[in-house]
C-alpha cells in the first residue's frame, strides 16, 4: 500500500520529489553518477534521472491504468454477454478468446504496436487487446454461476429485464474478481510497456518512460550502472506494490478466488 501511495503521489505531485525538469538536458553531463545536483545521476542525454523517474511514474500509471481499464471493460462486457446469453454469443466470444490466446502475448503486442505506429496511444490499445481475454474468461465463469442461482430466477419471475438483471444482480458479483485481476494486471502492464520499449517499439521520446530509460540503461550497464539500476528498481517496486495490493484486496474481498 505504502509503495503504491508513494508512486501515486509522485505521479500526482512530482514537484514534491524533485525540482528538476525531466526534459532539461545537459549533454556534456551525460551518464554522470549520483551527486548532490542529481541525486540519482543523469541519463544518456544528461537529464536528471530522479526527475525522469518521478515524472515517468505518471506515464507508467497512465499506460497501466488505461490499458488495464480498457482490457477489463472489453472483458467484462463480452464475458457478461457470453455468460448470460449463452448459445452462439458464448461460442463466438469464447472462440475469439481462444484466437487471442493462441498468440504469445508479447508477440501480439509487438505486432499491434508496429501496426498502429509507436506512441502512448498504440501501446495502451495493444496492451488492452492482449490482456482482455483473462477478464472475459473469469467474468463468463462467474456469470454462469450466478445465473443459475435462485435469486436471478426470482428477479426474472417478478419481471425484471435482462439489462436490469445483468446490472443489478450479476455485475456486482463479477466486480470483486475483476478488481483483483486488474490490480495484479497493473503490474503486468508496467512490465509489458518496458519490454516493448526494450524491443524498440514503445512510447516515443521525450516522454520519460521507465521502460525506455531502462532499455537505454541496459546498454550503458557497464559505464553508468545507476541508470538501469534505478529505473529497474522503479519498475520492480511498482509491480511489487501492485502485486501486494492485489493480494491484499483478494484476502479482503474473496479469500476463495484463485487467479488463473
Amino acid at each position: 500500500m505504502a509503495i503504491i501511495a508513494v508512486i501515486v503521489l509522485a505521479a500526482a505531485l512530482p514537484r514534491l520529489f524533485t525540482g528538476a525538469s525531466p526534459e532539461a538536458l545537459d549533454i556534456l553531463a551525460r551518464l554522470s553518477p549520483p551527486s548532490a545536483g542529481h541525486p540519482l545521476g543523469t541519463d544518456h542525454l544528461g537529464r536528471d534521472l530522479l526527475s525522469r523517474l518521478v515524472y515517468g511514474a505518471r506515464l507508467s500509471l497512465l499506460v497501466a491504468l488505461v490499458s488495464v481499464g480498457g482490457a477489463a471493460l472489453i472483458g467484462v462486457v463480452l464475458g457478461l454477454l457470453a455468460g448470460f446469453y449463452g448459445r452462439w454469443v458464448d461460442t463466438a466470444t469464447m472462440r475469439l478468446v481462444d484466437t487471442f490466446l493462441a498468440f504469445p502475448a508479447i508477440l501480439l503486442a509487438l505486432a499491434l504496436v508496429a501496426v498502429l505506429g509507436p506512441g502512448v496511444g498504440s501501446v495502451i490499445i495493444a496492451l488492452a487487446l492482449v490482456f482482455w481475454t483473462q477478464y472475459a474468461r473469469v467474468v463468463r465463469a462467474v456469470t454462469l454461476a450466478e445465473k443459475a442461482k435462485a435469486y436471478v430466477e426470482g428477479a426474472r419471475a417478478i419481471g425484471a429485464g435482462d439489462l436490469r438483471i445483468l446490472l443489478r444482480h450479476i455485475l456486482p458479483n463479477v466486480l470483486s474478481p475483476v478488481i483483483i485481476l486488474a490490480t495484479l494486471g497493473m503490474g503486468s502492464a508496467v512490465v509489458a510497456e518496458s519490454t516493448l520499449s526494450f524491443l524498440g517499439l514503445g512510447v516515443q521520446p521525450p516522454a520519460p518512460s521507465w521502460g525506455w530509460t531502462l532499455a537505454f540503461g541496459t546498454r550503458y550497464l557497464r559505464d553508468a550502472p545507476h541508470i538501469a539500476t534505478f529505473s529497474g528498481l522503479a519498475i520492480m517496486f511498482t509491480v511489487l506494490g501492485f502485486n501486494l495490493l492485489g493480494d491484499g484486496i483478494r484476502d479482503l474481498l474473496d479469500p476463495k478466488f484463485r487467479p488463473q
Partner: protein, 515 residues
C-alpha cells in the same frame, strides 16, 4: 542414507563445477571465431544483400577483381583487363583456378554469373548497379567481353562480385544458396540458421593455402553481448556495428587490439524538398546551424564516428577534400535565418509561427540504431528550446523506408553504407531522376555533373566533378551529413595478420593466423 545423500550432493557440485569451467581451447591449426550481428540471408553472391552474407561469401568466392584497403581495384580471378572502347571491356582470366568441387573456372562461369544477375527473374537485389551492362560473353575459355549501353566508370569497382560455377548452380537450383561452391580461400562446411556458419581451409587456393584451418562465424545480434563475447574469449574478432560505449571499453583491455578507421558509410539528415516547410532553403540552413555536430560526435558517438564536412567520403582518395564545409553550429545565425523567412513568435506562446501556422517539424529515425535514436532525442530538445514545435517518430526500418519512398516525411536521420565510389554515393541520391532521391531534390547543374562523372575515367576530372557536386549539396542542403561512420575491428591479441579494410571486407582472413 546420509552417505547416499552426501554422494549425490557431491555429484551435483561436481557437475555444476564442470559446467562452470571454461571450455577447452581450440585445437591446433588455428580456428578463428568471428562474431557478427545478423545471420546471412543467402550464401549465393548474386543474391547477397546483407553484410554477413558478404563477409562469408568473400571467403568462399572470388570476384574478377578485389578492392585493396585503399579501395583500389586489384586483379583476382581476372589477371588483367583492357577497355577496348568506352563501352567495351575485356577481362583475361587466371589459369588453373578450380572451384571447391574440383571443376575448373572458365569464362562461361563468369558470363553465367553476370547474365543471371541481369535477369530480372533471379531477383538479384543489387541488379541496379549492373544495368548499364548490355551483354556479357565468353570469347574463349579465358576471355570475357562486357558490352555496355553507355560509358560507366564505376563498373570495375562492382566487378568484385563472386563468380559462381554454372554447372553446380544449374544442378542445385535454389539450394545453391545454402550450399555454396566457389573458388575462394575457405570452403563451406555447415550453416546452422541464426547460430553459426562454419568454413574450412581450401588447400588448393590459387593464392596459396590459407593459414587458418577453420573460420566460424557466430551470429550474436546484440552489440553489447557481442562485445562481451569478445571480452570473455568466446569469439576472437568482432567489427562494426558496435556501440560507442563498448568500443571505449574494449580499447582499455590489454587482451584485445582495436583498430579504428573511417569506413564507407555516412549518417545524415535527409530533408524533404517537397515539404512545404522544409523546401525553404533558409529553414534547412537554420536547421543545420542548430546541430551541435562536434558535441554529438564527442558525446554520443564517443569519436567512434567523425564529424562530416561534406557528402564526400575521406575514403575516396583523390576526390575527398576538407575544403568544403556545411553550415556550422551557430544559433544566432539560425534565429536570424528563420526571422528572415518570416518565422517569429508573434503570439508569444513560445513557438515560432508565420501567418497563423506553427513551425512544426517531425524528426524520424529507426529504432534499430540506439545512437540515431539518441541524436534525434537531442535534436528534438534543441529544436523545442529554440521555439520549434518539434516531434519525433521512431519506427522499425521497413516502416521508415516506406515513409522515405512515399515522400511522406520532413526530416529523417538515416545512413548509407558501402559507398565504394562517388557515383554510388551521389548519383541516385541527388540526380533529379535518381532512384533514391526521395526528397525530390532537383538541380540541373547537379544532374549534368553526375552524368558527366559516369563517363569520365580520369581521376582528376572525376575529382573536379564530384567536388563541385559536393559544394552545391553543402549549400542547397538536401542532405546534412552528420558523421563519417567509423569502421572498427576488435580482435583478440592471439590473432595475427588480419588487416582491416574500410569496406568491412574480410579478404585479409586468407593471411590470418590464430595460434
Amino acid at each position: 542414507m546420509t552417505g547416499f545423500r552426501l554422494r549425490s550432493l557431491l555429484l551435483i557440485v561436481a557437475v555444476a563445477l564442470a559446467a562452470a569451467l571454461p571450455a577447452r581451447g581450440a585445437p591446433a591449426g588455428g580456428v578463428l571465431r568471428v562474431g557478427l550481428d545478423v545471420d546471412a540471408g543467402t550464401l549465393d553472391p548474386r543474391l547477397a544483400n546483407d553484410t554477413t552474407a558478404r563477409r562469408v561469401i568473400e571467403q568462399v568466392f572470388d570476384g574478377l577483381v578485389e578492392l585493396d584497403p585503399q579501395l583500389r581495384v586489384r586483379p583476382a580471378l581476372a589477371e588483367s583487363w583492357t577497355q577496348v572502347s568506352p563501352t567495351v571491356w575485356v577481362f583475361k582470366l587466371r589459369r588453373n583456378v578450380k572451384f571447391h568441387d574440383g571443376s575448373p573456372l572458365t569464362a562461361a562461369d563468369v558470363a553465367f554469373t553476370y547474365t543471371t544477375i541481369l535477369d530480372p527473374a533471379l531477383r538479384a537485389p543489387l541488379r541496379g548497379l549492373y544495368t548499364p551492362i548490355s551483354r556479357v560473353e565468353a570469347v574463349d575459355n579465358e576471355t570475357v567481353r562486357f558490352t555496355l549501353s553507355a560509358p560507366y566508370a564505376p563498373l570495375l569497382k562492382y566487378a568484385d562480385i563472386g563468380i559462381v560455377p554454372k554447372a553446380v548452380v544449374e544442378r542445385a537450383g535454389a539450394e545453391f544458396a545454402a550450399r555454396p561452391v566457389g573458388t575462394g580461400p575457405y570452403k563451406f562446411v555447415s550453416w546452422q540458421r541464426n547460430s553459426r556458419i562454419t568454413l574450412e581451409a581450401n588447400p588448393e587456393y590459387w593464392k596459396g593455402r590459407p593459414r587458418l584451418s577453420q573460420v566460424v562465424f557466430n551470429i550474436i545480434p546484440d552489440n553489447t553481448t557481442r562485445a562481451a563475447a569478445l571480452e570473455s574469449g568466446d569469439v576472437d574478432l568482432i567489427h562494426s556495428p558496435l556501440s560507442p560505449q563498448d568500443v571505449a571499453r574494449l580499447k582499455t583491455s590489454n587482451r584485445l587490439r582495436v583498430t579504428e578507421m573511417t569506413g564507407l558509410g555516412i549518417t545524415y539528415l535527409n530533408m524533404n524538398m517537397a515539404d512545404p516547410i522544409i523546401r525553404e532553403a533558409r529553414v534547412r540552413r537554420a536547421l543545420a546551424h542548430l546541430i551541435p555536430q562536434r558535441t554529438i560526435v564527442r558525446q554520443i558517438y564517443r569519436e567512434m564516428d567523425r564529424p562530416a564536412t561534406s557528402v564526400l567520403l575521406p575514403a575516396w582518395s583523390g576526390v575527398y577534400t576538407e575544403e568544403i564545409a556545411q553550415p556550422g553550429h551557430d544559433i544566432a545565425r539560425a534565429k536570424a535565418l528563420l526571422a528572415e523567412a518570416g518565422w517569429t513568435d508573434s503570439n508569444g506562446d513560445g513557438v515560432l509561427d508565420r501567418g497563423g501556422q506553427r513551425l512544426t517539424i517531425t524528426l524520424r529515425t529507426h529504432s534499430e540504431d540506439p545512437n540515431r535514436v539518441q541524436v534525434v532525442e537531442l535534436l528534438l530538445s534543441i529544436l523545442r528550446s529554440f521555439g520549434v514545435d518539434a516531434r519525433v517518430e521512431i519506427t522499425e526500418f521497413p516502416g521508415l523506408l516506406q515513409a522515405l519512398l512515399s515522400g511522406n516525411y520532413q526530416v529523417v536521420l538515416v545512413g548509407w553504407l558501402g559507398l565504394v565510389d562517388p557515383d554510388r554515393g551521389m548519383y541516385n541520391q541527388f540526380h533529379s531522376k535518381g532512384s533514391q532521391n526521395w526528397g525530390k531534390y532537383a538541380n540541373p547543374r547537379v544532374d549534368a555533373l553526375l552524368e558527366e562523372g559516369r563517363q569520365k575515367a580520369d581521376p582528376n576530372e572525376r575529382a573536379r566533378i564530384y567536388r563541385e557536386v559536393a559544394r552545391i549539396i553543402a549549400t542547397d542542403l538536401p542532405y546534412y551529413v552528420l558523421t563519417y561512420q567509423g569502421y572498427i575491428v576488435a580482435v583478440n591479441r592471439r590473432v595475427e595478420g588480419f588487416t582491416p579494410i574500410p569496406s568491412g571486407s574480410f579478404r585479409a582472413l586468407w593471411a590470418t593466423t590464430a595460434p
